[in-house]
Symmetry: C2
Subunit: 277 residues, 2 copies
């Protein structure tokens, strides 16, 4: 697409190109020189356009335009969500998940239609971005399988690579580091495995998963990260259960809280994390 | 965000809002009424704005604006890619993957840094959307694990749910259908499992995966889909190997072809599928 169009565009046309390109590519740096070449306008003109984009995005809470100064400078789009929008969204999501029809014998909640729904998890990815942007991670780390879509969308919002920890080493990925951990959900010793090549030493990593009960999996991930000399800058989960209150991992951010499940009364309570009632 | 701003906006401002909102939400229908309310403009004015957006997107190959007429009508953004852009992208991706450093003993290629990279797989999702848009699927289906990010991004482009087939039934998702299949890669009988609830009967499904060698996994997926009375409208894989030429699945679309690997000569050849040389 680059450079295909060089004739002079009107400001209205340039604004469509710039807005679309930036919104489609979160946290991707576009240099003023490239944007000027693309739209056939002077850099100073594009700069004025970007001021308009920036102000409109901000006043409509559609994200943030961020300018990087200097020789390697340019502009990038940060898909930050407004606190009110986050609350509204999590409130609606809680209601959806609190449907008694979702109860599965054994005290589980059916939620794969939610956590594999692109619209919902695009939002969740942006919310995790908003909450963890300041931690500046190099990689998003998750454990297969159900957390992958959420972690992927978080990685997309940050525009950093995703790394997936597997249940066992695969021959197709070279040598790997394996550790054992105790999963609270299955109450069994399990293995997690990550290829040596998948994560450079001394990386800053953000752990993302769909669900936390006792925190055994998250703790296993923390231990595995030590083997890679990685610095864990944060842990985010979509839902944490209220019980057990003492989790193996102390420092985590949950978006929702599974307050209680009562199979006999057919009652499920899920709330935005930290919501009073 | 909806309705937060109601004062009269300038056309330039409206174009930024409309372009951003549409680009951020592929294949999501926005009614003219809602867009008018959001921007505080008359429907006829918004309609003119959308004509500008449509023309600019088209001339810059940034996707397609599609109008849905009638009472439930509105406008949606289709992230279709231009054929030339697809070819350029696949050509560059082939070169990246053909790096001898990627060879792993046993005739494998290390590619998880590529297939978990959000920018690359966002593009691949759009390319699969472009190739399969006419098949109008209800669900994207993949088999855990490595294909999930690509399948997720394809689901995002279509704005339809993702369904992930697991290696074994999980208690947390209710009753499931299990079938056995022979994986060409591991040459072992394996199980694939899908919760009954995950896919309504008579759905139209598009199968997406990262890699195809003999086609055993894809054939297993086809068999599993029969159990759900699903109609398979297509099968897309990022890379197919040239050998074996006779795959268990006849009808598939590959983006890239792994032509050959020579471990002794340290030589890997990957090309856009169907490319001559």
């Amino acid at each position: 697409m680059w450079g295909r169009k060089m004739e002079k565009l009107k400001r209205t046309d340039r604004l469509v190109v710039l807005s679309t390109l930036l919104a489609k590519n979160p946290n991707t740096l576009f240099s003023l020189t490239d944007l000027a070449a693309l739209t056939g306008a002077a850099k100073s003109t594009v700069s004025e356009d970007l001021t308009i984009v920036k102000e409109v995005l901000s006043s409509f809470s559609l994200g943030e335009l961020y300018s990087v100064t200097g020789a390697a400078g340019g502009v990038l789009y940060r898909p930050k969500e407004h606190a009110d929008d986050i609350n509204d969204f999590l409130e609606k999501l809680s209601q959806k998940l609190s449907d008694p029809e979702r109860m599965i014998p054994g005290g589980f909640i059916y939620m794969i239609d939610i956590i594999f729904n692109p619209q919902i998890i695009s939002r969740i990815g942006e919310i995790f971005y908003t909450k963890f942007q300041h931690t500046d991670p190099d990689y998003i780390i998750t454990m297969e399988t159900k957390g992958i879509p959420i972690a992927m969308m978080t990685a997309r919002s940050f525009n950093i690579p995703l790394v997936i920890i597997r249940n066992s080493g695969r021959v197709t990925e070279g040598s790997s580091v394996n550790i054992n951990y105790l999963s609270g959900l299955t109450r069994r010793i399990q293995t997690m495995s990550l290829p040596r090549r998948a994560l450079p030493p001394n990386s800053k990593v953000l752990l993302i998963d769909d669900f936390m009960k006792g925190g055994g999996t998250a703790q296993g991930m923390l231990n595995l990260m030590k083997e890679f000399n990685a610095e864990v800058v944060g842990t985010g989960v979509m839902i944490a259960t209220r019980d057990p209150r003492e989790k193996l991992v102390k420092d985590y951010t949950a978006l929702l809280e599974l307050v209680s499940i009562d199979e006999d009364k057919k009652d499920v309570i899920i709330r935005p994390f930290g919501a009073k009632k």
